[in-house]
């Protein structure tokens, strides 16, 4: 049901777009929403914080940047390779660090994200260093993908796919096991759930979501800098999850929408942009502390009673 609503939104939204600029914003919303859905699976459902998720975004982005230029591989292949690489990194690092809890896990994932960003910044021979590198355009079956409207449909479709996948995942036995882990790790353990393995599975999946989003971002912008993997990007992703609503897949779309559109709107305030952004994040979190979507749902449920 929510999947159909989201699909309808994706399809009908362009009817209200007055210019190509809006397509551009739409693409960015869907790309970030994709990464946020993945992160929300980890944070909202499994209850595991990651302050380094932009690291996976960076791996995905630089895969499609480096692959075609240094190895002559097609972009779409590099996108998959990036996702597999991100999954592999998550697999290797996940088992030891997911034993950590709460703020310790936060600092470990933060370190992981920073390591990726530092490598991307310093290996200038491969990545162009802090100035970044340009990314060759996506070519699909001889079709040269260009223009924001083409990307709108690609990103929109992928987002709906990721969205449906996440919903189904949450309804599966793995999803229920993850929610049990969220409520009480020891409780879940006693029930016979392989906690370490389930946490690792969802960490890998959420890393792959971020990686695909990163690849899209690089291909769409045609340019990428190490900032994509930076600490502030990670914080932004977490902010989207929390603002939209932890554990709400629809919230991921709303959170991404708010934090992509808001800075665009705020540019008219010039130098006040950052101060206003900080203020709005604070006000949202104070008054809608469970996130936008869960708070609205709760308000409606309360009225119906």
């Amino acid at each position: 049901m929510p999947a159909i609503v989201v699909a309808v939104i994706v399809i009908t939204l362009p009817l209200f777009f007055p210019s190509a600029y809006y397509y551009r914003i739409g693409v960015l919303v869907f790309i970030f929403a994709l990464a946020v859905v993945g992160l929300n699976l980890l944070m909202g459902f499994a209850g595991q914080v990651s302050l380094g998720h932009a690291g996976f975004l960076g791996i995905g982005a630089y895969s499609v940047a480096i692959g075609p230029i240094h190895f002559g591989a097609p972009s779409w292949l590099c996108l998959f390779a990036g996702a597999i690489l991100s999954g592999a990194v998550a697999f290797l690092v996940g088992r030891p660090i997911l034993r950590l809890k709460g703020h310790y896990l936060a600092v470990a994932t933060l370190g992981l994200g920073l390591l990726v960003a530092i490598v991307l910044t310093n290996e200038a021979g491969w990545t162009g260093g802090p100035d970044g590198m340009s990314v060759s355009r996506l070519v699909l079956f001889g079709w040269n993908v260009r223009g924001a409207d083409a990307w709108y449909w690609i990103a929109g479709t992928t987002f709906v796919g990721g969205f449906v996948l996440a919903l189904n995942l949450m309804d599966s036995s793995t999803g229920r096991a993850l929610q049990a882990i969220h409520d009480s790790e020891i409780g879940a353990l006693v029930l016979g759930i392989d906690v370490a393995r389930k946490k690792l599975t969802i960490f890998i999946i959420s890393a792959m979501y971020a990686s695909v989003a990163g690849s899209y971002l690089a291909l769409f912008n045609g340019y990428i800098t190490p900032d994509a993997a930076g600490f502030l990007r990670s914080i932004e992703l977490v902010a989207m999850v929390v603002l939209g609503g932890m554990g709400s897949v629809v919230g991921s779309l709303v959170g991404a929408m708010v934090l992509v559109v808001l800075p665009q709107v705020l540019t008219i305030f010039h130098e006040y942009e950052q101060a206003l952004l900080g203020l709005i994040v604070m006000v949202f979190m104070i008054f809608l502390r469970r996130g936008i979507v869960p708070s609205i749902v709760a308000a409606f449920a309360g009225r119906r009673k």
Binding site: L114, E185, M246, L279
Partner: protein
């Protein structure tokens, strides 16, 4: 040998600043369970306010005092206006509020001040002292002495005064503290104000060595947080040692390995330590109640 001394002195100087930031994290965490990501902004505000008040013609010591008072007031206001209204929200929501606050403070700082780098004159001149072949900046000694003084004063205060004992009681058990008549809200007010003051002092001390600008806070918050976690969150001793360790690791990594990868080496070591000791060096293992 001279090289070694040089790295130790620069490592300890930066480490002392990290330690002060980590101490700020710890103080707030102890009294309220909140990780305050605006801690780095306190450091920035201390340095930047001093620079601009001094530029307005106020003598430097007075400017520093004004900066500490302003930052302390901002720390207090942060708790009263942003954290207190959200009481009972989830830890992640509270962290998001402090991150929002740090974006806000950074945004305001670039309007009120500017977006350039600034420095302050060192307290005892810029001529390095030669010691065993190493050149040590007098300001480094000022940083180390001040950090030692702050840590000692804070320890004396917590250990010897009634208010300090109330802070300890709040940290140990909030409900029990309220039951015996401690106004825990005031204690949290107090810990935010003191953390802000410590941050501001750290910012003023480091500016002559490392420069300051509106956006230095992020990196310092990150390092301070990492230091607090390395030491074991909630342990003041851990915060200080964690800070000094990270400073030293960075200095040695920069000296013997590569200055581009000094942060990478620091975080790699933090990862290894945390994976082998999940509660940090001095933290207590948390027992989960089911």
């Amino acid at each position: 040998m001279a090289e070694l001394l040089q790295f130790i002195s620069s490592g300890l100087t930066v480490g002392a600043i990290y330690a002060l930031v980590a101490l700020g994290f710890t103080l707030i965490y102890k009294s309220s369970d909140i990780i305050n990501f605006a801690q780095g902004e306190f450091v920035m505000l201390g340095g930047m306010t001093t620079v601009f008040v001094a530029l307005a013609g106020v003598p430097l010591p007075l400017a520093a005092l004004i900066a500490i008072i302003v930052t302390t007031a901002i720390g207090f206001a942060l708790h009263r206006l942003a954290i207190e209204p959200a009481r009972g929200a989830s830890p992640v929501a509270l962290i998001m509020i402090t991150i929002g606050a740090s974006i806000f403070l950074r945004g305001v700082a670039q309007i009120v001040f500017d977006r350039r780098f600034h420095s302050l004159p060192p307290l005892f001149g810029a001529d390095p002292i030669q010691f065993g072949g190493a050149a040590i900046l007098p300001q480094s000694l000022v940083v180390l002495a001040s950090a030692t003084a702050i840590v000692t004063l804070l320890w004396l205060f917590i250990d010897r005064t009634l208010l300090g004992k109330a802070v300890l009681a709040t940290a140990a058990n909030r409900l029990a503290a309220r039951l015996i008549g401690i106004d825990t809200r005031r204690i949290v007010d107090f810990s935010f104000a003191v953390s802000a003051a410590i941050g501001a002092i750290a910012g003023i001390l480091i500016t002559p060595i490392a420069l300051t600008s509106y956006d230095v806070g992020t990196l310092l918050a990150l390092k301070g947080f990492a230091a607090a976690m390395l030491g074991g969150i909630g342990s003041a001793l851990g915060a200080v040692i964690g800070g000094l360790l990270i400073g030293m690791i960075e200095a040695f990594a920069a000296g013997y390995f590569s200055s581009n990868y000094k942060d990478a080496v620091a975080f790699l070591i933090i990862l290894v330590v945390l994976v082998s000791i999940p509660q940090g060096l001095f933290g207590r293992a948390k027992v989960e109640r089911v």
